[in-house]
């Protein structure tokens, strides 16, 4: 069952998302978070069960804020959050069952990878911290570099050692904030496999990312966040199908938009052109050839070109489509 509110029947702002069935590890109810007059998260409601869930959104959409609230690091301004059926704020005992991989890269640069993971194991009161440390490091394939100082690690190595530290106590809920940034393609493949494994083991894994195709390979369920609001939720493929039905849109700013529009009309790949002030919004079914053609036409016509912006190229543009009025 797929719903797409486009143009008709606007959804209420408190619309929420709940998995169709099964247990709920995380329950977020009408949560908002604001800093001064900046709203980071606006009335978000959702629940998540075991398996991998992707939290998708452009930078600044509020992903990290939500994940930090889930981990109890910050308190929501209003609304309630329950994790594993308990309140998460001021409840340190619950951290025995939660692991967080924070977004920031800084880890104690003066420790070795092994010392860092072991510190986490000791602070989790594990009976055999050394054994747990070795197992966690092996799981992220970092044994070779484990005894080097973290200060000398690459971004990808930092990400993996952070994941090892969050895994060391075998948590039921694992929160990963942008775990794939800075990894090379091979590492990314391995991490994606690891994350899927963790989900398959019955853990609840929630992963944030601003890259659509990463999430596509990671998670079946996704939550899409735009400007602090839940913009789309559910099965990734179902949402994508809704997006793919449409042609790609490009915004062009030029000195003489009307004359430029007339010149562009000749292009065979063009589907439509709208004039919007001094800009044109173009729909095309072949963006690449359109990009090649635009400067040539501008030069031939002697029209000055100011700006060419893809409206559908990045995730932001997907949202521009998703959220267009």
């Amino acid at each position: 069952m797929v719903e797409l509110q486009q143009g008709t029947g606007k959804r209420e702002p408190d619309a929420g998302f709940f998995p169709p069935a099964g247990p709920r590890t995380i329950e977020v109810t009408h949560v908002s978070k604001w800093y001064g007059d900046v709203v980071a998260v606006a009335d978000v409601t959702f629940a998540v069960g075991p398996g991998v869930t992707g939290l998708l959104g452009p930078n600044g959409a509020g992903k990290s804020t939500i994940l930090k609230m889930l981990a109890g690091l910050i308190a929501p301004s209003i609304g309630t959050i329950r994790v594993l059926d308990q309140p998460v704020r001021a409840n340190p005992a619950l951290y025995r069952r939660i692991g967080l991989v924070p977004e920031q890269e800084t880890i104690y640069p003066f420790l070795t990878g092994r010392e860092f993971v072991r510190l986490n194991a000791v602070l989790q009161h594990l009976p055999d911290p050394d054994d747990a440390t070795t197992r966690a490091i092996a799981r992220v394939d970092m044994l070779a570099a484990a005894d080097r100082a973290i200060g000398g690690y690459s971004k990808g190595m930092r990400q993996r050692i952070k994941i090892a530290a969050a895994l060391v106590h075998e948590p039921e809920l694992l929160i990963l904030d942008e775990p794939l940034t800075g990894t090379d393609p091979l590492q990314r493949l391995q991490l994606i496999r690891l994350i899927r494994e963790l989900g398959a083991e019955g853990r609840t894994v929630i992963v944030s990312s601003h890259v659509l195709h990463e999430v596509e390979r990671l998670a079946d369920q996704i939550l899409v966040l735009v400007n602090g609001k839940l913009a789309a939720a559910g099965d990734y493929r179902a949402i994508r199908d809704k997006m793919d039905e449409h042609a790609r849109r490009v915004r062009v700013r030029a000195a003489d938009p009307r004359r430029f529009a007339a010149a562009l009309i000749q292009l065979p790949t063009l589907e439509s052109v709208h004039i919007d002030g001094d800009a044109l919004v173009v729909e095309t079914n072949d963006v690449r050839s359109f990009y090649r053609a635009v400067p040539k036409i501008a030069r031939d016509q002697g029209i000055r070109l100011y700006e060419v912006t893809a409206l559908d190229d990045s995730l932001a543009s997907v949202f521009a489509y998703v959220t267009a009025r």
């Binding site: 910050i74 951290y95 510190l119 986490n120 602070l123 530290a165």
Partner: protein, 247 residues
């Protein structure tokens, strides 16, 4: 080392952090400046006696400047750095008492600061006084007064570092400007000044009729103040850490 990393992991972590950071060197540098003054005293014209020099050194240089500067460096660093670097989640997201985080952090900063200050004082004392004038009572008074000031400043500004990003600067303003202003204009409020309290401990331990301090506290009440300030500051810090927003 292995058993420390197991028994007191946060203390161990903080010592490693201090070993790597520049703040420790700065604290050591501050702690070493009295040595320079002692050398100048030794080489220069001997207009004051060694005991007089050391007493003045403590009352006018150590207590007002060196002890607060050296203490603040590490006390505001121990937790403040983790907040600034956003590494504090690695400690907060653990099933451990918040008080344990605060206490281990405080112990680490107190340990390193008192060690550097003690070494600086020992050398200063050895350089500035010679032969018969070398008194162990003076050394004990120097160490005692310094330790008292160090503990109170340390606990108080570890708490402040949880509240304010610029705790070090606020601490310096407090120690160098505020306490001087208090001492100059409102003598009664002196009783609320950590500097005065540390000077009192020094004067009482020295017990020399020629070295006096206006409104000096008695030793027992000075000790009581020390315990109350330290315990209260650490308790409030633990409570704050429970509800902190670690963004």
């Amino acid at each position: 080392m292995m058993s420390l990393s197991r028994r007191a992991p946060i203390l161990w972590l903080t010592l490693r952090q201090f070993r790597a950071g520049r703040a420790t060197w700065l604290a050591a540098l501050f702690a070493a400046t009295p040595i320079l003054l002692a050398v100048i005293h030794r080489l220069g014209s001997r207009s004051v006696s060694d005991a007089e020099f050391l007493a003045n050194l403590f009352l006018e240089v150590l207590a007002p400047t060196v002890v607060p500067l050296a203490t603040l460096m590490l006390a505001t660093n121990a937790l403040g750095n983790e907040l600034a670097d956003r590494t504090v989640p690695y400690l907060l997201l653990k099933p451990i008492a918040r008080a344990r985080i605060v206490v281990e952090k405080f112990l680490a900063s107190a340990l390193v600061t008192s060690l550097t200050l003690a070494v600086g004082l020992l050398v200063t004392w050895a350089v500035a006084s010679s032969g018969a004038e070398r008194s162990s009572r003076m050394l004990a008074a120097l160490l005692g007064g310094t330790l008292a000031g160090m503990l109170a400043y340390g606990a108080l500004f570890m708490l402040i570092s949880l509240l304010i990003q610029r705790a070090l600067l606020v601490g310096i303003i407090y120690a160098l400007i505020w306490e001087s202003a208090l001492a100059r204009f409102i003598p009664g409020v002196k009783l609320l000044s950590i500097r005065h309290f540390s000077q009192s401990v020094f004067v009482r331990l020295l017990d020399d009729p020629t070295v006096t301090l206006d409104r000096a506290l008695q030793l027992p009440s000075a000790l009581a103040v020390l315990v109350v300030v330290t315990v209260a500051a650490l308790t409030v810090a633990s409570l704050l850490l429970r509800r902190i927003n670690a963004a």
